[in-house]
């Protein structure tokens, strides 16, 4: 009988969890259904909307398209792990200050993605609208954030929030 489940260790927001998972379990479902970390959202469940974005070893990824078993041993940061204690992460504070959401469903993914964008830009990664030497202006932010949909249409405020954190 083939083994259809696996034991995995996920280090989530700094805490290690050992879980027995059906191999079909995505990282998103493990976070939400097993660890009760419901910040990352299931929007499309096909990598098209970005609501499930988390940071995997510091890089932004769509957690709905990763099997938990395939990220055994790796470190995950979800929106719940961004702020130490009660102090907001600067990106969270900027989203509040700029009213960068309406219903809030896409917001945890937007925030995790935006943090990834800033790291990528700081590393000099190019984008489809520049060679990587540009500052994060509106065109850059819109291109780099295009994997995160907001059906309420809060894009102008999201761009403003990300731009503010980029400027520091």
């Amino acid at each position: 009988m083939p083994q259809l489940s696996s034991t995995v260790r996920l280090v989530v927001n700094g805490t290690a969890y050992d879980l027995e998972v059906d191999n079909r379990t995505t990282l998103l479902d493990a976070l939400r259904e097993r660890l009760n970390l419901t910040g990352a959202k299931k929007g499309c469940d096909h990598g098209q909307c970005g609501a499930c974005t988390v940071l995997l070893d510091g890089r932004r990824v769509d957690s709905c398209l990763l099997f938990a078993v395939a990220v055994d041993g790796r470190s995950v940061t979800t929106v719940e792990g961004l702020a130490p204690g009660d102090e907001l992460h600067p990106m969270q504070a900027a989203f509040l200050a700029h009213d960068a959401f309406q219903c809030g469903y896409c917001t945890p993914g937007q925030i995790c993605s935006a943090i990834g964008v800033l790291d990528e830009a700081a590393a000099g990664w190019p984008s489809a609208v520049s060679d990587g030497t540009a500052v994060l202006d509106e065109d850059e932010i819109r291109e780099r954030m295009s994997g995160n949909l907001c059906r309420c249409g809060a894009y102008p405020q999201i761009v403003a929030a990300v731009a503010e954190v980029w400027r520091g």
Partner: protein
Amino acid sequence: MREFAYTRATDVDTAVALVADNPGARYLGGGTNLVDLMKLGVERPELLVDVTGLPLDEVVDDGGTLRVGALVRNSDLAAHPLVRARYPALSQAVLAGASGQLRNVATTGGNLLQRTRCLYFTDPAKPCNKRRPGSGCPAIRGEHHNLAILGASAHCVATHPSDLAVALAALDARVLVHDLAGPREVPLDDFYRPVDDRPDLELTVPDGALVTGVALPPLPMAAGSRYRKVRERASYAFAVASVAAALDVAGGRVRDVRIALGAVASRPWRARVAERTLAGEPATEAAFAAAAEAELDAARPLRDNAYKVPLVRDLVVGVLRDMAGGPP
């Protein structure tokens, strides 16, 4: 989703042996396409062999040939200094595709092996000759506005969705594969089978062959190469047409040229007719147009995708004109 067993490959030979002997086994790389297809029920593997732990994640300059490991993530490929300096069209093509999140996970090898996004292929409730041989192709009379105009058949009109592979096709890349007989290199242009009457058979390499990387030969004119993509929204969408090209002009004439087209065929389409037509001709807009039109003589558009013919023509002309004119 069907239940599946999972194992981590520790070396290439073992991985190949596991998958080559088991038609129900699939390699798992980044999984950004495979996991989605499993959710849709298009792929129903009984065993996933995770290859992401294999040492195939480096970009190496091998005496002028750039060797890119199959597990190099799209983000790292696009940002790599040697790729950006020597083959900018490749970096541009990668960045023109998917989203930041997907590029952080998707691999170079997986990109070449991704499946068509034809609506009928991705819906198991529909007939599709690529997914279920002999069941028919509803796309030919149905929703095909973004399907093939070149090289299709009466059995399938699907397009290959990759941007990256289009740049590789223009840059004379070779695909490094490893099967039960061992490692070998296949020109990218010979890696994909013609459609004919078996659209389910997409590759010329045996089932279970593992793509271990791609090799980009030295091509000085590629330092000025470009990729341009047309899509239905400004970002994060598959192409309706794209072109990768490199051009060498001397004394006002075309000394050498590479052109490949995307989103027009079941494979990245190397435009060899256009290249031959252009060789030695004046580097003028009229000559570029004549070359594009020569290639497109073979186009057989469907009811709703004839718009791609003039679109591709204008794309080719625009990119060549920009390159002939120097940096923008």
